[in-house]
């Protein structure tokens, strides 16, 4: 029964997407919708073909991907150790708390003018934007994963003479990992917002720049190509991380 309902829902969803595309194209072809406003599926495909042919789209994707991954690599390099340390030492957590909650409360994009002032108009500022947008979920989730370790398990491991490394590998890491991964999933989304805001504003290439410059030229079809690429990237990243999370979620009960 459930499976039937689910597959019916899928069919409705698919029909909804196809229907929307057909209606969009039909209305645009009949000139019932201003092309300037929402273009049409045909025009979007045409613009995508043109951008791919000129190699522009590939270049923008490469630039955006590089900026994003550099920013996110910094997030991992700084966020994970910071989360573990802050989660482990109560005093450090107390010291970090005011800064973390302040940074958590302010929309990170408000820091952008500072990055531009400090790092100039360019890719460094955008990387900083990605970093600061995505940092907190990783730190906070890793820290709470470490804080919530089962103290009984720790004591048990200690009394059987486990070394720090062993405790870390067999108890701390496995039980903190699901929360860390959930934090990472949040962070990927936030980082993507940071990337797009940065590129829209000061980018000289990249998908955000493609969208912004298309907007200035009122090239709606090109704008939609860029926006749809970004949307697809967002969906792909989140789906991928969900899969990863489910995998580690599955082996959690064996330890916890």
């Amino acid at each position: 029964m459930r499976a039937v309902a689910l597959s019916r829902d899928r069919a409705i969803s698919a029909a909804s997407v196809v229907g929307l595309l057909v209606a969009w194209q039909a209305l645009a072809s009949a000139h019932l919708l201003p092309a300037l406003w929402i273009s049409s599926p045909g025009d979007v495909i045409g613009a995508a073909g043109r951008l791919v042919g000129q190699g522009e789209l590939a270049q923008d994707i490469v630039v955006s991907t590089r900026t994003y991954f550099i920013g996110m690599a910094w997030v991992l390099a700084v966020g994970l150790p910071l989360g573990v340390i802050v989660g482990w030492y109560d005093d450090l957590r107390a010291a970090a708390w005011p800064f973390v909650s302040a940074l958590n409360a302010v929309p990170r994009v408000a820091l952008f003018p500072l990055f531009v002032l400090g790092l100039g108009i360019g890719v460094r500022s955008i990387e900083a934007m990605v970093f600061f947008s995505a940092l907190l979920p990783v730190v906070l989730n890793t820290a709470s994963g470490v804080t919530q370790l089962d103290p009984a398990l720790l004591r048990l491991a200690r009394s059987f003479g486990a070394s720090d490394r062993q405790v870390f590998r067999t108890i701390a890491l496995p039980s903190a990992l699901p929360l860390t991964l959930a934090g990472l999933r949040l962070a990927t989304g936030r980082g993507l917002i940071g990337l797009v805001v940065g590129e829209l504003w000061v980018g000289q290439s990249g998908l955000g720049y493609l969208v912004a410059s298309a907007g200035q030229r009122f090239a709606t079809a090109e704008l939609l190509v860029g926006a749809l690429c970004v949307t697809a990237a967002g969906v792909a990243i989140i789906q991928g991380l969900r899969g990863l999370e489910r995998r580690f979620e599955a082996w959690r009960p064996a330890h916890a």
């Binding site: 482990w88 109560d90 409360a105 408000a110 003018p113 400090g118 917002i193 805001v197 967002g234 789906q239």
Partner: protein
């Protein structure tokens, strides 16, 4: 990070000790937090006022306070704050007005959910701010564009959480109400709406944060007045102190907003558990 896991016992042995320094507990945490903040500002002031460091973006607490006093005296702060708050609240209000009814419909009627799900799922995963240039093509660079950016940023949080709240209603309660002859309207007002309130409030808290991003980005980019505009112009004039002042104002607003919404959320969560 095995170093971080040095002897477990150490976490219980306070390094800082003394009659005035509590060994553990919330009092100790609060004291450490206050010390950390004090040290942060002291170091910032030292670096900012030293002659050897001539970096514009560092500024110093002293200069930030001066910039703040200037903005308060000239009345510019109130103009900016009012403009930003107005844009933000209109956007948030619209998001609530659209998101809650639509979320209830989506949560209640399964086929409708199936129809809209592909778009909602994609837009939830995407950095929706990327559609900002499209909004400018549609309605120009005025205030309505920024309001629409706020709506774009926060309506989905309200909508999705409302739908989840409605979907997770206790079906046995609804069946019981049906067998006692409750009308749709009665079920809706006595079961569906109260049951969904905690989830709606969660959505509202998320939306409040996302909307703040929307209003700041909108103002940074195309605003004519407001905190975001103040910060952009300060950046163009290389006045870091004004930017820091704006950041502190936004931190204050953000903290006040999230803490009050969290309190509201907790209040209704208690209420829900008492009912069920």
């Amino acid at each position: 990070m095995p170093e971080a896991l040095v002897a477990l016992e150490q976490t219980h042995v306070p390094h800082l000790r003394g009659r005035w320094f509590p060994a553990r507990g919330p009092a100790r945490s609060r004291l450490i937090a206050a010390l950390a903040v004090a040290v942060f500002f002291a170091v910032w002031q030292l670096i900012g006022s030293s002659k050897s460091v001539q970096v514009i973006f560092i500024s110093s607490p002293e200069r930030v306070i001066q910039a703040g006093i200037l903005q308060v005296r000239s009345g510019q702060l109130w103009v900016d704050l009012r403009s930003t708050a107005l844009t933000y609240l209109i956007g948030l209000g619209l998001s609530i007005g659209i998101g809650i009814p639509l979320g209830i419909l989506i949560g209640w009627y399964r086929p409708l959910e199936a129809v809209l799900d592909p778009y909602i799922a994609a837009l939830m995963a995407a950095p929706r701010i990327v559609f900002f240039p499209l909004i400018i093509i549609w309605i120009g660079t005025g205030l309505p564009s920024i309001v629409l950016v706020v709506v774009l940023m926060c309506v989905f949080d309200v909508l999705v959480n409302t739908a989840t709240g409605v979907r997770q209603l206790d079906t046995s309660l609804i069946r019981a109400a049906r067998s006692f002859g409750a009308s749709d309207r009665q079920i809706f007002t006595t079961l569906a709406l109260p049951g969904a309130v905690p989830s709606i409030l969660t959505g509202l808290r998320l939306a409040a944060g996302a909307g703040l991003i929307g209003v700041v980005v909108g103002e940074l980019w195309i605003g004519q007045s407001g905190l975001g505009v103040m910060m952009t112009t300060a950046g163009q004039r290389l006045r870091a102190a004004d930017i820091y002042f704006g950041v502190f104002i936004l931190i204050t607003v953000g903290l006040a907003l999230t803490s009050s919404l969290e309190r509201l959320e907790r209040h209704f969560q208690r209420w829900e558990t008492r009912r069920s």
